[in-house]
Amino acid sequence: MTYAFYAVMGGFGVDISGFHNALEHATLTIHGLLLLARKGFGQYLDHEFIPDKSKLDLLAKFLVLFQIIEVIGNFIERKTKELPVSLLEYHTIIHVVCAIAMYLLWLRKPYNVQSPTILNHGEWFNELGYIVSSSDWAGCSGFEEERSKRRKWLLSCSRRRDPPLVWFGNLFQPLKVLSDAPIPGTQPLDRGCPHVRARYVRGTFPPRESWVVGQHGILEPPLDVPYYPANKVENTFVPANGLEALFFLEPGQSLTTGFGPTAAVPFADVNQTPYPRYRVGISHNDLRRLEAAGVFFREVAQLREDSPLKRFLINNKEFGSSDHSPNPFSDYSTRHTGPRLICHHARNWTGLDELFDCLDSSSGWFWATFVAAVSIPGIYGGVHLIPSLSALSLFSTMAEMMLWRASCLLLVGFTCLCLFCGVMYGLIFGPRSLEALYLKYQMRQELEMFRRRDVWSQIWKNLWLGGVSTFICLSLAARAFLVIESFVSLRRVPEGVYQTPKLNFIGWIPHIS
């Protein structure tokens, strides 16, 4: 279990300096490790690695243990002797209980490790190429984006991501070249480049009725009609870190390894002409990565249908299968829309990714995770509510008590709302629908950069963001109030708080007092 925790906390790093323009090292997630294990590289994950914990930590833990026993014992003793307990002590007890829960859950998690074990990827070069390509590297992208001015202000707040590249390697027929005329406003192609397979093509749109609606509402031109990419390029991605771009890939082109900018039109925006497209500057590192990934793809494509690795890649979602996840071998998507395989460093925050990873319906922990996710904050509010109902004399003024109650109710109320909405949604559409909803959301984020936004969608988005941030501010204020008030309330407390029980057993336990 310590091993598993070490993997979860980002204990296995890899050197990706040959694969990524901006980063030197990255951390494999558990899903990346599992992919390697499926490919048969399990033994490389094995190291004598788990760092020693210092003796000082042990000592600190003993001190904390004594302190915890003293505080809880004191609380119980006072309660049995019917002596009042101050608000600060209530608050401390809640923290202590939380701390115990954390200790128990993190019992086997190594503490205070400062750097990951760097794995040697010599043997799984191609796999690493795929793993690095599968991430969009939001926040630490290997590309810099040059946008046209009009779209700059719309997207300036979003995090930089790598442009999506799609695998055309399993198209049975080569792309048809309609025209060699350059796209207006772009630089002419480097024709002599050996890496580029197909030239871009240009023409009018095929009739929309003939387009195939793929998963997630993406429109794909049918494969048997001539292939029409964009007629205007709006975004240009250049390699980050000032690396030199060897050549630019434009829509409709692909590398000899099969990767190229996507041809799909996101969200049926095709009636807008010209619709936005992107071109990607490819550096040495990108070329190396995509070539490795291409080898990996081809290798996997030749596997039997029932091999674990292929099943995993097709299902994409790690644990158990999901009907909603896109399939790299039918949708041509390199991107892993399921869980991430690699990240810069293992985040501490339980984001939506991790949450939905746990919420996977096949694991049997679906409802447990769901209830835990929404009810734990409610319990926090609810427990704080108890003293304001049972011991009114603890509060100095009426206003403070009302504020305390309001803060607690806010926290509880939010929980009830979430629980209610979630349960209703789950009951109506089935537990899996939540997962599908999330995948759709992920996909949307991915395609965000191509979306045209009209004024109304912008307004809706701002309203939504405003509502959420108001709520977050409110609950932050409520929490801060609970902490501050528990200290402030000590200025006036009932007489009994300062009495100690007659036989003060607990007082004999050594503690900081």
Partner: protein, 149 residues
């Protein structure tokens, strides 16, 4: 560093309790047995609770491993950020811990399953070495379990 501070605090308070005895003998007002004063003061509650809060919060936050060659200052700032979060919303950390525990459990089970599946494909040597390493780990971690409580 924190631990040293703790030990000092621990001993420091004991020493403070011992001091009044010295004073008593100086003024010749001796008595055989004196039970401690009953009752407690505001400072007692404040001091005790604050110490417990800080201890629990600081010690219970188990952060993930930072990126390779990350600035020490960034790591430190991250710790402080999480301590503040733990102070305001301890239940959020409990949930994070729960999620990580669940993820670790799933990962271990899945890894074993994958290795079982691959067993016929690959030579059994690799699997055997992994298995024995698990046993090693299981034995090796018994002391870690103690130290983490």
């Amino acid at each position: 560093m924190l631990t040293l501070l703790l030990v000092l605090l621990f001993l420091g308070r004991r020493a403070a309790f011992a001091a009044p005895f010295q004073n008593l003998t100086d003024t010749q007002l001796t008595s055989n047995w004196e039970s401690g004063p009953s009752g407690r003061g505001t400072t007692d509650i404040l001091y005790n609770s604050t110490c417990t809060l800080v201890l629990c919060v600081w010690n219970s936050v188990h952060l993930n491993i930072p990126a390779v060659r990350e600035d020490k200052w960034v790591t430190y700032r991250r710790k402080i950020k999480w301590v503040v979060i733990a102070l305001l919303a301890p239940e959020l950390l409990v949930f994070t811990a729960f999620q990580q525990w669940l993820a670790a459990r799933k990962f271990l089970r899945e890894l074993k399953r994958v290795q079982d599946e691959r067993a016929p494909e690959v030579g059994t040597q690799v699997i055997a070495s992994i298995d024995t390493n698990y046993f090693h780990r299981a034995r090796g971690t018994s002391h870690e379990r103690r130290s983490l409580i």
